[in-house]
Each structure stands twice: as C-alpha cells, then as structure tokens.
C-alpha cells in the first residue's frame, strides 16, 4: 500500500514575535504524529529558504517592511490555502501600536538620543529593507483563506485546524478555542 501523500506546509514569521510558532510546537509529542501527515517546506525549523508549492501556508505577524511583503506574496503565490495565524497577522497586533506614534521622533529617540548612545546615526544601509510607516494586517496585502485568532492561538486550536485540513474537512474550532489571550 502506498502512503497517502503528505500535506506540504510552509510557515513564516513576518512582524511577529514567534509566539505563534511556539504555540505550534506546543502540540508537544503530537508533533511526531503531525509529521506523519504533514511535510514542512520553508519554516524557521527547516533550512528551506524559499517557499515552494504548498498546500498550506501559515503566516505569523503583520507586514512592517518591504521584505515582509516579498515573503508574503511568495507564500500567497505558492500556497493553496493561506492562514493568517495570530493577532498580529490578523490585525497587525501589538506591533501595529506603532501606527499611532510619530515615526520620525521614534527614530531620533532610538538611534540619536537614547540612553548611553554613542555614534548616534540612523541606520541607512541598502541591505536594510525599507520599513513602512504603518504595520499592516496581512489581509490588506493578499487574500487570506482562514484566520486563526489568539495571541498566540492555543496549541489545541492549531492542532485541530491542521488535522481537519489534513483529513480534508472544513476546519472548525470550538468557541472556547477562539480568544485573544
């Protein structure tokens, strides 16, 4: 008997804190069950640097710079199903608090006038991707198929979601699994 084809899953963190990825790993030993039905493509736990054709793309974090957009578009292009995972991807989350402040003052404060700063200057190397004035939810940049809420979404919710998809079911989360904190 041939084994059923594994689902290809890519994951990335944009302007997020990695907490959503931690919550994925918080499925603990079920991780070994998961990899029986799922194969990881680009992800912080593999050395694949670019997302190839995938069934599911899990995106953590909002969009804060040009590089984020690049990665996000690569995910959208390659992933059949794209999942905005966690508050940051869905709404911008806490990093989007910076949308309320004057960015000029920020930069001055952090790189010119901070406590104990020497050689104050604003980093300006071409290797640094251009930051945006605002942090955006990923849904403002690409089409999103599913939203998995929480900060981070509970491990059980991630597990239920992925196993539903792997089994070909429409993912359905109980009310208790839908919360921010």
């Amino acid at each position: 008997m041939t084994e059923p084809k594994k689902l290809k899953v890519a994951t990335c963190s944009l302007a997020g804190c990695f907490g959503c990825h931690m919550s994925l790993l918080d499925i603990d030993e079920k991780l070994f069950e998961l990899v029986k039905v799922v194969e990881f493509d680009r992800s912080p736990i593999t050395d694949i640097k670019h997302c190839g054709p995938c069934d599911i793309g899990i995106v953590e974090g909002g969009v804060c710079n040009a590089e984020n957009v690049h990665v996000l578009k690569e995910f959208r292009k390659n992933c059949r199903v794209l999942v905005a995972t966690g508050a940051c991807a869905i709404t911008g989350g806490i990093p989007a608090w910076r949308n309320n402040v004057d960015l000029w003052d920020c930069f001055q404060e952090v790189y010119h006038y901070g406590i104990g700063l020497e050689n104050g200057q604003i980093p300006n190397d071409p290797e640094l991707p251009l930051p945006f004035d605002k942090v955006h939810p990923i849904g403002e940049v690409v089409r999103v198929d599913h939203f998995l809420p929480g900060c981070p979404p509970p491990a059980d919710a991630i597990w239920k979601f992925l196993t539903d998809l792997a089994a070909g079911r429409e993912p359905k989360l109980e009310y208790e699994m839908l919360h921010y904190d």
């Binding site: 963190s13 302007a15 997020g16 804190c17 990695f18 907490g19 990825h21 931690m22 919550s23 790993l25 918080d26 603990d28 030993e29 070994f32 990899v35 194969e39 990881f40 912080p44 736990i45 593999t46 050395d47 694949i48 640097k49 804060c64 590089e67 989350g93 806490i94 990093p95 608090w97 910076r98 309320n100 402040v101 960015l103 000029w104 920020c106 930069f107 952090v110 790189y111 901070g114 406590i115 104990g116 700063l117 020497e118 050689n119 200057q121 604003i122 980093p123 300006n124 190397d125 290797e127 640094l128 991707p129 251009l130 930051p131 945006f132 004035d133 900060c151 981070p152 491990a155 904190d181």
Partner: protein, 488 residues
C-alpha cells in the same frame, strides 16, 4: 584579521552573497558576504533588518500593563521580558523585597523558561548540525529528520521542552505570554496538588538533561580540534552573579571579566547600568553594538549568555550542574570557553541546573503560601535585569505621577552578543570560505556559528525607526532649519 572584515576597503566591484533568511534561529536576520574575483572574503556582516518600536509606543501606557505587553517582543522567551519588566516595576510600586511566595514563584517560572528555551534551541534548532554535520543535505537538517534517525533524542528534546512549558503554564497561567507576574509580586501561587503533579516527572527531566550535557561533552571530546577552533575568538564577558559569586539567573550584581578572566567590575548595581554600558550605532544594522564604557567601543565589546555565565560564576549552586561546569572549564585547559560551539555545552549545563533548581523549588512549601504582593513607597523609575536564556536582559522605565510610562530603554540579550556574533561569522568566513567556491554546506557553516549563540533576532528587532533616509537643512549656526524624510 576578522575586525577588518567588517567593512571592505572598496566594496565596488565585489560579488555579494547573501544568506537570507538565516534559518533555524528565532527572528529575522541576514548575512551578507562580499567576495572578490578570487573568492577572497572582504566583508561579512550579520544584519538585523527589522524593528518594532516598543520603547516608543509604550510611552503613555499605564505601567501595570507593561509586564504583559512587552513580552510580545518575543514569544520564545516571553517570561524573560515578563519578569525583567516586573522587576523594574517592583521598584515603582516600592516593593523592595518580595514575599517568599512571590520570589519563588517567579524563580520557578524563570527556570521553566530556561529549561524550555534551552531544550528548544538545542534539540529543535541546533542539533541537526551537530548530529548530521554542517554540510549535510539541507533537506535533512531539521528536527523532523532527527526524529526519523534518532527518535529517542528527538522525543526527549520535545518532552523536556514540554515540561518547561508546563512549569510556565502553572506559574504564569499560560505557556506563551502568561500573566503570572505583576509589579510587586505574583497573582497566583502553586497548589500542593500542582506541585505533586510536577514533581512526579522531575527526576526523569533531571536525568534527560544530564544526558543532554553528555551529548555535547561527547561531541567535544570526539571532535576536539574542530569544535575548539570553529569560529573561535577571545572577548570580555558579562553576566549577573549572586552576592556569593554563584550562578543566579534571576537576580544579582553585574560582573564583567576580560578574555583572560581578570575582573573588570564586580557586583555592580544594575540600577546604574548606563554608567557601565554604552551602545554604538552602525549604519548597516538596526541592532546596536553595546560595549563596556571603561574599555571603549573598540575593545569593550563582550559576550553574554551561557558561556559567559558558566565561565564567570564562582560555582553553580546545584550539584550535578556544578560537576558538569568543572568538566567544561577543565576541558583542554579551558579551550571550550572561547569556542562558539562551547555555547551548546554551557547551555546544556544550564538546562541541567534549571531542572535541579525546579526540583528544589517544587519541594518548597513557600510556593503554596498566600502572601503574593507587597507595596511600599512609590518610585518613578526602575531598572530590572535578569539573565534570560540568551544572556543579560535590561529593562529600564521611568513613569510620571499619572502612572504612565514616559521613557523606556531595553537592551536585550542578543544585542549584547551583536559584536560577538559578527566576530564569530567573520572568523568562520576567513577560515572556511576564503578563496573557496561557496557551496550551500559552506554557507551553513556561517549559520552554525550564529546559531551557537541562540540569537533571538525577534527580541533584537524591538527598536523602531522609519524610512532610513533623511535630509537636513542646517543653517550656518548649525541649527536644523528643516528636514525631509523619504516616506515609503
């Protein structure tokens, strides 16, 4: 000389090789390498390419929000930020001395964090390099493949992390971004039933942690020459130590030593850290470069984290970890101390210490006490420092009479290691890449050196800027008349 590899004398016309994203680390980083036509390396840089702006956007927020807010800097070591912020704000609410229950709950939470973070780094992220070789097939360099060929190792790694996460859940209320610590104390204790349940597994956890130290010790013994030489550099060190010189990850005074082990300062009060440590800005990274003020920017950079802590403390106050510390220091006359890969060894020793420390604490009835919070005379500033999994973490806040944050400064662990990581990758580039045809496996050598530090680039992106181009109109007296910034 590696210092010279920071900036190529003449970058025009050089080939650029980029590693992006640096994988199997937490957060966003990239490495650029500039080579000439003969593949000689002229410049190597680890760039931190993102920023967040926590220092700025928490201004105006009520101070009590901060411990749950700032941990959103980093989901890998949220407890570190949760606790460093709490410690700083203890001073704001006038809690000079916490209740025994509060202090021990926090210490337990912290050790849970050390355990889970160190296990995560070693087993989930770094072990494929060490077990399969740095230039093994990239498709196999991951924990899934570890699970396939060494299921026992992978399983223990996953369960060690799980146990640490469970300690966090019981103390903080939630595995990632918990809420257990508040200015002045904690908001829950640990019931006897919880303690008994957690104690049930602790001997296994201690045993596995010991095995993990053994894995690295053995690797060092088997590949001594390679492990010692890989990316090796000498530097100053910085960490907290307890009043009696013991390793203490939760509280203490600052100790700094030079590469030879001579004391630069000791038991320094971290409330005045900014007199000891300054930061330099370089145009090519959003992460600043801290250094010891007395030694200056050139010579004053240092390393933090497991190696610095294990090397600098006078002893580790738990038995098994102390025995392993001695073996680590004695190995080839201290050869592991300057080796980036020595971080893995020291990290596992700390994991063992955390496991032993958790056991000690769980047996302590104070954890089930009912006195959770203290208050005293209000203050308007506070500095909280903790030894996070990756190294010394500094949180500094000022508030106003209306309880709002007016000013914040954070120096996260990975930032302290900025120069150290750059130096390590330059050493590796010089030794293994220079003049060669760059293969994927060789490039992974660079990442192996970075991974050794377990950088949390997620933490390191907290500083915020905006479009990094500015134009200033300055009058002849030097006053800025107008300025323009390019908006994206």
């Amino acid at each position: 000389m590696p210092a010279e590899l920071e900036t190529a004398a003449d970058p025009a016309g050089l080939k650029r090789v980029v590693i992006e994203p640096v994988s199997r680390v937490e957060g966003h980083g990239k490495v650029t390498i500039l080579l000439d036509a003969d593949d000689r390396v002229h410049q190597v840089r680890l760039h931190i390419v993102e920023f967040r702006g926590f220092e700025k956007f928490i201004q105006g927020r009520p101070y009590w929000e901060v411990p749950v807010l700032v941990q959103r800097l980093c989901g890998i070591c949220p407890v570190s930020h949760h606790l460093a912020a709490s410690k700083a704000l203890d001073l704001v609410v006038g809690a000079k001395q916490l209740t025994p229950t509060a202090e021990k709950m926090r210490r337990l939470m912290h050790l849970g964090q050390i355990l889970q973070s160190h296990a995560l780094h070693f087993f989930h992220l770094a072990s494929p390099d060490l077990l399969f070789g740095f230039d093994a097939d990239a498709a196999r360099r991951n924990v899934v493949h570890v699970a396939a060929v060494a299921p026992d190792v992978a399983k223990k790694g996953v369960l060690l992390r799980k146990y640490g996460q469970e300690i966090i859940r019981h103390t903080a209320g939630k595995r990632v971004h918990g809420t257990g610590s508040v200015p002045g104390g904690v908001n829950k204790n640990l019931s006897r039933a919880e303690r008994v349940a957690l104690l049930g597994e602790i001997d296994t956890v201690v045993g596995w942690s010991r095995e993990a130290v053994g894995i690295v010790r053995k690797l060092f013994a088997e590949h001594a020459q390679f492990y010692e030489a890989f990316g090796r550099f000498a530097s100053n060190r910085l960490s907290l130590v307890r009043a009696d010189g013991a390793l203490d990850l939760y509280h203490g005074g600052l100790r700094a030593t030079d590469a030879a082990g001579n004391t630069l300062f000791d038991h320094a009060d971290y409330q005045h850290y900014y007199e000891l440590i300054h930061e330099e800005v370089k145009p090519w990274s959003y992460m600043k470069f801290p250094f010891l003020v007395a030694q200056g920017a050139e010579a004053g950079w240092y390393r933090v984290g497991p190696v610095a802590r294990v090397a600098q403390c006078d002893f580790i106050p738990t038995e098994l970890a102390e025995a392993e510390r001695r073996a680590f220091l004695a190995f080839d006359d201290g050869a592991a101390l300057d080796a980036p890969l020595g971080y893995h060894w020291a990290r596992m020793i700390e994991m063992l210490h955390a496991a032993e420390g958790i056991k000690e604490l769980l047996l302590d009835n104070d954890l089930s006490g009912g006195d959770l919070v203290v208050r005293g005379e209000r203050g308007l500033r506070g500095v909280g420092v903790i030894e996070a999994p990756r190294g010394t973490l500094i949180h500094h806040y000022r508030i106003n009479e209306d309880d709002q944050i007016v000013n914040a400064n954070l120096i996260v662990s990975t930032t302290h290691n900025n120069q150290a990581m750059n130096t390590a990758v330059r050493e590796v580039a010089r030794r293994y890449l220079d003049g060669r045809n760059l293969t994927e496996g060789l490039l992974n050598h660079i990442e192996v050196a970075i991974r050794a530090f377990d950088p949390c680039l997620s933490c390191a992106t907290h500083a915020l800027g905006r479009m990094p181009l500015e134009l200033e109109l300055v009058d002849d007296g030097g006053t800025v008349v107008d300025r323009l910034a390019r908006h994206v």
